[in-house]
Amino acid sequence: MVRQISVFLENKFGRLSEATEAIGQAGVNIRALSVADTSDFGILRCIVSDTDKALKLLKEKGFTASATPVIAAEVPDVPGGLAKLLSIPRENDINVEYLYAFVEKSGDNAIVILRVEDIEGIKKLFEKGGVKVLSEAQVSSM
């Protein structure tokens, strides 16, 4: 189980840049991120190298930020890799709220971050299906 940082962003010029600047100022590195947007606001979701430090600084700077539990799964960086992973929740009728992915700097794998309602449940299913699930420490230190 990995803690992802979610930050509420008003649809105002420069907000995304200011939020990422705050994370950078804390000396924290962003591993992966995605931005969900509507016409009125957005949510920045990111996996960072030091979740607690980044959350603290974001809050100090006046952002509404929280930690969301997500699951990090390792998949081989080949065509069909993601589809194979997603067959597991599909076959078990599990809804995936959202996901995003990034490639590892070294090695032949990609990391897929998924938000699912039942984290423990999907973790067991992935492990049963031979998928490697990463901890926060592993993802942060990549």
Partner: protein, 440 residues
């Protein structure tokens, strides 16, 4: 201005001052005796002020009577202010009030008849006759606008089209096909219609010659724009539910001040702070006493509208005392698309929603002709959800609750914490970017 001006009721509308004052006094004396006897609220407030009905010996003595405010109405909601038994009440209207207590107005048969007299006078201020086709785009229902103007038009014998508000396409169709000559609507809706008329290429093809615009404040500039766009007279009409509805006062074609039908509604201007009555020409708060209303009479009702009074002399021939166009309010009530909105209503709703911070802001603006009401709510950690659908659900819920309480559509916007200005003293909750009042 050499234009011929019709008058609905020459006998009553062109009375000499002395005759009028005698009539007003007779009515006022009967009124105070009746409310003292029939309405516990007035008995209590008169006793508290140390005044008896017999103390009223001249119109000047009206200043001995205590004021009535919207809080008094809310405290006596719904029918505590009525002076007749329900059996005699034939109509009940209401309009928005503070924090869930709407203002309730009751009418007897005689009240309805009198109302139809005052709204007929209003329509004839714009030369309406039985030959006219009157398109009434004021809202029909609990609001007094629709039925108020309707009965006045019918009284004159004009052909009323009770179209109510909205559905612009249909409004234009009716205007063309039925040959509408007179329009009743809010000023902002009239402007909106005029733009739709231009877009449809209907300019010069309509029979419209006069519009009776009220239920919200509007500027001289807006009047000029409407009169130019549609080549019509745009008459300013004024009223409020607590006094009767529309039909309290109206511009005539001279447009130099609204004639108050002061044989029925006695006006005063007071200093809103000291509560002292002010002479003609001085700006202050409008106060009305309903001289003949039976079901729901009001004594020295504080309207919170700012204006000044002018003597009745007018080229039209009417002798009714005139009031200047409104220049503001003494409270924070807003009128958005013709509907009263109290910021306290909004606050009361927002604090009920779990987790919603008390930091909100109301933005009122006008996009083109239509008023917009936007409510900004700060997203605190309690309210924040990582899932877009949850935030959207929250936005929609707040908007829905607002709309059902305020009776107009609102736009909700979730904003970041600290987006809303904090202030030392009272928070700046409302930002009204419109200019709806004349500067003087």
């Amino acid at each position: 201005m050499a234009r011929k001006q019709l008058i609905w009721n020459k006998q009553d509308e062109c009375m000499t001052d002395s005759k009028k004052e005698a009539l007003q006094l007779e009515r006022l004396q009967k009124l105070v005796a009746r409310v003292y006897d029939k309405v516990p609220f007035y008995k209590e407030s008169f006793d508290k002020a140390g005044v008896k009905p017999s103390d009223i010996q001249s119109m000047k003595d009206i200043s001995k009577l205590p004021f009535t405010t919207k809080n008094d109405l809310a405290a006596n909601y719904p029918f505590g202010m009525f002076a007749v038994p329900m059996k005699e009440v034939v109509r009940i209207h209401s309009s928005s009030g503070t924090t869930g207590k709407p203002k309730v107005a009751g009418y007897t048969r005689n009240d309805i008849k009198m109302w139809a007299e005052t709204t007929a006078r209003t329509l004839v201020c714009g030369n309406t006759t039985a030959d006219d086709v009157v398109q009434n785009a004021y809202g029909y229902g609990l609001f007094t606008g629709g039925l108020g103007m309707h009965y006045g038009a019918e009284n004159i014998g004009a052909a009323v089209v009770p179209i109510s508000g909205g559905n612009t396409k249909r409004q234009l169709l009716v205007m063309q096909d039925f040959g509408t000559t007179k329009l009743c609507s809010t000023p902002s809706y009239c402007l909106f219609l005029s733009e739709a008329i231009r877009e449809e290429g209907l300019e010069g093809k309509l029979k419209l010659n006069c519009a009776f615009l009220g239920a919200e404040p509007w500027t001289r500039e807006l009047r000029e724009q409407i009169e130019k766009n549609l080549t019509i007279d745009a008459i300013d009409i004024y009223g409020l539910t607590e006094v009767i509805g529309p039909g309290v006062s109206s511009d005539c074609l001279e447009k130099t001040g609204l004639h108050i039908f002061d044989d029925y509604f006695y006006p005063e201007i007071i200093d809103p702070v000291t509560e002292e009555p002010l002479p003609y020409g001085e700006t202050g708060e409008l106060v009305f006493t309903t001289l003949t209303k039976e079901a729901f009479p009001v004594i020295r009702y504080r309207t919170r509208d700012i204006s000044r009074l002018m003597p009745g002399e007018c080229a039209c021939g009417r002798t009714h005392v005139r009031m200047a166009r409104l220049t503001g309010r003494t409270d924070d009530m807003l009128i958005v698309r013709g509907v009263n909105v109290y910021p306290s209503q909004i606050e009361a709703l927002l604090v009920q929603i779990p987790g919603v911070e008390p930091h909100y802001q109301i933005l009122v603006d006008r996009k083109g002709a239509m008023d917009t009401l936007e409510i900004w709510v700060e997203v605190s950690e309690n309210v924040f959800s990582d899932e877009i659908k949850n935030l959207e659900k929250l936005e929609k819920k707040i908007a829905r609750d607002m709309e059902s309480s305020l009776l107009i559509g609102v736009k909700m916007k979730l904003v970041e914490p600290k987006s809303i200005q904090r202030s030392e003293g009272k928070a700046v909750r409302i930002i009204d970017r419109r200019t709806v009042y004349d500067k003087e």
